[in-house]
C-alpha cells in the first residue's frame, strides 16, 4: 500500500494503545505443521461468506426432505405450467395488471382501472418496498427497517398468501435493496455498506431463493465490490445485470472494467476494454442488459485514485461490446430500459433549481423527450452530507421515491414522496394521471398476459 499519511500514523498509534499489549506467537512453527495435512474443505472466501450469511446449516435429513420437496414442486410446476397461458418472457412488453405498494407498514395491491385497493399483508410488522416478480405471480417486500440489520425479505402471492422468508433478518448488516432475477426464481439483495445513500446500493450482493428453500448466498465475491459503484438502483424491479430471460450472463462494473461472469460465477472476460481505454482512469457502474439481451447500457465515471469524481456519460453498446456510443442525454445513472428495448428512461437534473425530471431517449436515434409532468424538487430529511467518495450521512436526499415503466411500455409510473398519490405519465402524450390511493413506496406494476 501507499506510504502512510500523518493521520494514518496517528490512527495506528491510537489503535495500538486501544488494543492493549502485544503477545508473541510462534507462527513459523505453525506454518511447518500446516504442510503436513492435505484436505481442502473451505477456501477463505467461502468461509467468510458463510459467516456473513448466518442462516442455519441444513442437516442431511433435512436436505433430503428439502430435495424431495423441490422435486415435488418442480413436477407440480411443470404440470401447472403446461396448463396455463404463459406470460411473455421479460424480453417483450406485457399487459398492465395490479400495482403493488406499501402504506403505513402494510402491503397493498391496487387496480388502477377500477381504482380499488386491497390490503394483502397487514399486522404489527413494518412491511415496505413490494415488487412484483417478472412473471407476475409473486410479490417480494422488505419486512422491518430497510436501513437496518433487522430487515428481512418476504415473498407472498399477489393475494398475500403463501408467505415465505427468502432472507432472514440479520443477514444484512445495514440496509438492503431488492430486485428479482429475470426468471422470477430468485431475488438479488444489495446489502448496503454505506448508510442512507441516494437510492442506490453499493455493497455486497446476495442471491435469495424466492421459494425460501435454499439459504441465501453471497455473489460478492466472486463478483467484485467497488464502493461507490452500485449494481442497480432502486427503480430496478428486475436485477438488470442478469441477462434476460435466464440470467445466464452477469454484468459487473468495477474501477477499470466492465466484466462478464457466467452463471457459475466464473469470469468470462471484459467488454469494450479497447473502446473504453481512451477514458482511463474510469469506473463502471449500473450495467444493464436490454430486455432482449442484445444490448448493454452502463454508466462511466471519472475516478481519481479510489474516488468517483463524476459521471462521464451513460453508454450503450451491442452485447459483444461493439458499437459503443454515449447516450448524450445529460442524464444521471438512474435509468431503465423500456419493455420493448427501444427506449431508455432516465433522470435528468433540473437547471432552474435542485430537482429532477424523467426523460425518455430513443436508443436508435438518440432523440430525447422530456416528460415535464414528472418534474420534482429534491427533498432532504435528516442530517445529509456528501463527501467526494460517497455518503456518510445519517439523513436522506432524494428526488423520487421510485419510478418504473408500465409493463406495456406506454407510461412511466412514479411516486415523488411517501404518503402521496402515485402518478402515471403517458410517454407519447406526456399527460399525467393521479392514482386514487396514497403510497409510501414506489409502485410496482404486475405484468400480465397482453390482451
Amino acid at each position: 500500500m501507499h506510504e502512510q499519511s500523518t493521520f494514518e500514523r496517528r490512527l495506528a498509534a491510537g489503535l495500538e494503545e486501544y488494543a492493549g499489549p502485544r503477545r508473541s506467537v510462534d507462527a513459523a512453527a505453525i506454518a511447518r505443521t500446516a504442510t503436513s495435512r492435505v484436505a481442502l474443505r473451505h477456501s477463505i472466501p467461502q468461509r467468510f461468506s458463510a459467516l456473513v450469511a448466518p442462516a442455519p446449516r441444513l442437516e442431511w435429513p433435512a436436505v433430503g426432505i428439502m430435495a424431495l420437496l423441490v422435486l415435488a414442486l418442480a413436477v407440480g410446476a411443470v404440470i401447472v405450467g403446461s396448463q396455463q397461458r404463459r406470460l411473455p418472457a421479460v424480453v417483450e412488453p406485457a399487459g398492465n395488471g395490479l400495482i403493488a405498494y406499501s402504506s403505513g407498514g402494510d402491503i397493498y395491491v391496487g387496480d388502477p382501472v377500477a381504482g380499488t385497493t386491497t390490503a394483502i399483508v397487514t399486522g404489527p410488522a413494518t412491511d415496505s418496498w413490494p415488487i412484483f416478480s417478472p412473471d407476475g405471480t409473486h410479490i417480494a417486500f422488505v419486512r422491518g427497517d430497510p436501513w437496518s440489520d433487522d430487515a428481512s425479505v418476504v415473498v407472498v402471492s399477489p393475494d398475500g398468501s403463501d408467505e415465505v422468508v427468502a432472507m432472514p433478518a440479520g443477514f444484512s448488516e445495514r440496509g438492503i435493496g431488492i430486485a428479482w432475477t429475470p426468471d422470477s426464481a430468485s431475488l438479488v439483495a444489495n446489502l448496503d455498506t454505506a448508510p442512507l445513500t441516494t437510492p442506490s446500493f453499493d455493497g455486497e450482493l446476495a442471491l435469495l431463493d424466492a421459494s425460501g428453500l435454499v439459504e441465501p448466498r453471497l455473489l460478492t465475491p466472486p463478483l467484485p465490490i467497488s464502493p461507490g459503484a452500485p449494481y442497480f438502483n432502486a427503480n430496478s424491479g428486475v436485477a438488470p445485470m442478469f441477462r434476460p430471460p435466464n440470467g445466464d450472463l452477469i454484468l459487473s462494473g468495477d474501477y477499470d472494467a466492465l466484466n462478464v461472469f457466467d452463471a457459475d460465477m466464473r469470469s468470462s472476460g471484459q467488454l469494450a476494454r479497447q473502446a473504453l481505454s481512451g477514458f482511463e482512469p474510469y469506473g463502471v457502474s449500473t450495467p444493464a442488459w436490454s430486455p432482449d439481451g442484445s444490448m448493454i447500457s452502463f454508466s462511466l465515471h471519472r475516478v481519481n485514485g479510489n474516488q468517483w469524481v463524476g459521471l462521464i456519460d451513460v453508454f450503450v453498446m451491442n452485447a459483444d461490446g461493439s458499437s459503443l456510443r454515449p447516450l448524450k442525454g445529460d442524464i444521471s445513472w438512474m435509468l431503465a430500459w423500456s419493455p420493448d428495448g427501444s427506449m431508455i428512461a432516465a433522470q435528468r437534473g433540473r437547471t432552474d433549481r435542485e430537482g429532477a425530471v424523467i426523460v425518455v431517449i430513443d436508443v436508435s436515434s438518440g432523440v430525447v423527450r422530456v416528460l415535464e409532468a414528472t418534474s420534482v424538487e429534491t427533498k432532504v430529511e435528516g442530517d445529509w452530507s456528501l463527501d467526494s467518495g460517497g455518503s456518510s450521512s445519517t439523513g436522506r436526499k432524494w428526488d423520487y421515491e421510485g419510478w418504473s415503466w408500465s409493463p406495456n411500455g406506454r407510461s412511466i409510473v412514479l411516486l415523488e414522496r411517501h404518503g402521496t398519490r402515485p402518478l402515471t405519465v403517458d410517454v407519447e402524450t406526456g399527460l399525467a394521471t393521479q392514482l386514487p390511493w396514497e403510497a409510501d413506496s414506489a409502485p410496482s406494476w404486475q405484468r400480465i398476459t397482453a390482451r
Binding site: M1, F7, E8, R9, R10, L11, A12, A13, G14, L15, E16, E17, Y18, A19, G20, R22, V25, A27, I30, A31, R32, T33, A34, T35, S36, R37, V38, A39, L40, R41, H42, S43, I44, P45, R47, F48, S49, L51, P54, G170, E173, R174, A194, T220, P221, P224, I225, S226, P227, G228, D254, Y255, D256, G305, N306, Q307, D387, G389, G390, S392
Partner: protein, 146 residues
Amino acid sequence: MRRVCVVIAGDETIADDAVAAAWSIAWRKLGSLRDPARLRPWLVSVAVNEARQLLRSRRRRSLIEVPVIQVGEQTSGLDPGSTINSIDLRNALARLDPNDRALLAMRYLAGFDATELAYATGRSPSGMRARLARLLRRLERELGDA
C-alpha cells in the same frame, strides 16, 4: 490476533473467546491451508470471523455493544500530538460497523497490505483499497482535529 479482535469487539472477553475459537478451528483445519505463506492472514481472518460472529450473537441477546465513553472518563493517553485521543477513537470505533473495525485492525494492527486484506476477506485488492480510503476519510473527518 487478540488485539485485532479487541478492536472489532471492543470487549476483551469476546476477544479472548474469539481467539480461543480461532485456535480450535485452526488446529482442526490447518491442513486445508494450501499456501503456508498465507498462514498469518488466514489465522487472523479466522479470528476476525469468530469475533464478528460472537459480537453478532451477543448483540442479538442485547448483552453488549462496543461502549461509547462519555467525556470525563478519559483513559491514559500518549503524547496528544502523536496519537488520537483515546476517547474519541473508542467512540469513533463504536460508531463503525464490525466489518470496518475489522478492516482497520487488520490493516493497522496486523499490518496487512491490500493483497492480504483481499485474501482475508475474499474481496478484490482494489475494493479493499477503496473501502479503506473511504473509511479513513470518514475517520479523519471525525478525528482529524481531535
